[in-house]
């Protein structure tokens, strides 16, 4: 029973390899199932957390997928999923966006900051596992930054941005007026940004 998931992953990899080879032989439409499978994790765990803007993230996703289709002939199958290759294309695109917009702010650097997510090619790591691992790494950084905030600020962010409660509910939970809650959230996000940016000034690893 324990070997079944591995078998499933291997079957998926076999199917993926077949589709990649088909695409490399000229049938680019063979890429469709692969792109459909990886679009969401690329957007949710690679692009959006590094850009912070949904519209730009969507654009970068499109560019990433288009580049992948255009360059699929250069891809060499190494017995692991196409996802790490797609992820690297996406990260390069995010860098391009930050360079083009000439963002010099520390937060932008922090968002682009590479989180080393290693996938062992021999383990046939599933793309979802890589995405989950990356999401966890992002969350660890967010949580670490949250720990540096004052409790009231942490609560404001948790209630409003993570639990997505209404302003009224957030204010009620914290026992303040809506106006006061607005100020708390405003300051909380400012404080978060400062601390998050400071963390990004640590030496980078994994960027290429």
């Amino acid at each position: 029973m324990a070997s079944e998931p591995a078998t499933t992953v291997e079957l998926e990899l076999e199917e993926e390899q077949r589709l990649v080879e088909e695409a490399q032989q000229g049938n680019l439409d063979a890429m469709r199932p692969i792109l459909e499978r990886y679009a969401a994790p690329l957007y949710g765990t690679v692009i959006l957390p590094r850009l912070g803007d949904a519209a730009s993230a969507e654009e970068v996703l499109r560019d990433t997928l288009a580049t992948a289709v255009e360059k699929i002939r250069r891809f060499t199958w190494q017995g692991k999923s196409l996802y790490p290759w797609l992820r690297q294309i996406a990260i390069n695109k995010v860098y391009d966006v930050h360079r083009q917009s000439k963002r010099s702010r520390r937060l932008a650097d922090a968002m682009v900051h590479e989180i080393a997510v290693e996938s062992d090619p021999a383990s046939h790591a599933d793309a979802q596992l890589i995405a989950d691992q990356e999401r966890r790494a992002h969350r660890d950084r967010i949580d670490a930054t949250m720990q540096q905030l004052q409790e009231r600020y942490r609560s404001a962010i948790e209630l409003r941005l993570i639990q997505e409660l209404s302003r009224e509910d957030c204010a009620r939970r914290l026992g303040v007026t809506i106006g006061t809650f607005d100020v708390l959230l405003f300051r909380a996000v400012r404080a978060f940004r400062k601390h998050f940016g400071e963390r990004a000034e640590l030496p980078r690893t994994g960027d290429t």
């Binding site: 695409a23 000229g26 049938n27 680019l28 439409d29 890429m31 469709r32 792109l35 459909e36 679009a39 969401a40 957007y43 949710g44 959006l48 957390p49 850009l51 912070g52 803007d53 949904a54 519209a55 969507e58 996703l61 499109r62 990433t64 997928l65 288009a66 992948a68 289709v69 255009e70 702010r105 937060l107 968002m111 999401r135 992002h138 969350r139 967010i142 004052q150 009231r152 600020y153 962010i157 409003r160 941005l161 993570i162 997505e164 302003r167 106006g179 809650f181 607005d182 100020v183 708390l184 959230l185 405003f186 300051r187 996000v189 400012r190 404080a191 978060f192 940004r193 400062k194 998050f196």
Partner: protein, 201 residues
């Protein structure tokens, strides 16, 4: 002295208990409304750079906690666009034409719509100009034919230039004489017509 905007991003953040200034209160309210709109999926396209920077922080936090997933229709559109873009740039014969879908067709139509509208408008304008030109008397003469009755010239409405001729400046005041000449000519025509009918009107 730092401006308010510089303070927003780089200034120190007061403690939660610190009384807000009126300016901070107003900015906080504006930011809260931006967050409201963003949470309901209506992020305004225009906002200050500082508000955008703070909103990006909020989006990063939400995305990291899985609160921002790619909607299925956005995913489909991204895949379709990518395939269309890549296949469109492929040399002929390499997988071309294998991607056909309603979403792709709609995306193509959306992109081409401005050109289609502009082209149509240009054609309509050109046709209107051509019609106007053809309808002018000085055109090619292929305008609508004018029915001419077979009647003597003196029975028809006609210019009086030949009767009056060029008016010299020193005779400019002789309008009465010119009117008399025209009246006499027209009266001749009337008489001719009257006599042609045996004196009946």
């Amino acid at each position: 002295m730092a401006t308010q905007d510089e303070d927003t991003l780089t200034g120190s953040v007061p403690d939660p208990e610190t009384e807000p200034t009126a300016a901070e209160l107003a900015h906080a309210r504006r930011f809260a409304e931006l967050v409201d709109k963003t949470l309901s999926g209506r992020t305004p396209p225009a906002m200050s750079a500082d508000d955008r920077a703070l909103l990006e922080v909020a989006t990063v936090i939400r995305a990291t906690h899985g609160n921002l997933e790619l909607a299925p229709n956005q995913q489909r559109a991204a895949v379709e666009d990518a395939l269309r873009q890549a296949i469109g740039s492929e040399p002929a014969g390499a997988g071309r034409g294998q991607v056909t879908s309603i979403a792709g067709a709609r995306a193509r139509l959306r992109r081409r719509a401005p050109w289609i509208v502009a082209g149509t408008m240009t054609l309509v304008a050109a046709a209107a100009i051509a019609m106007l030109w053809l309808r002018t008397p000085g055109g090619t003469g292929r305008g609508n034919p004018v029915a001419r009755r077979a009647v003597p010239e003196e029975w028809t409405s006609r210019p009086a230039d030949s009767l009056v001729g060029p008016i010299a400046r020193d005779h400019a005041g002789d309008a009465g004489a010119r009117i008399d000449a025209i009246f006499a000519d027209r009266l001749d025509g009337f008489r001719t017509r009257r006599l042609a009918r045996g004196g009946k009107p």
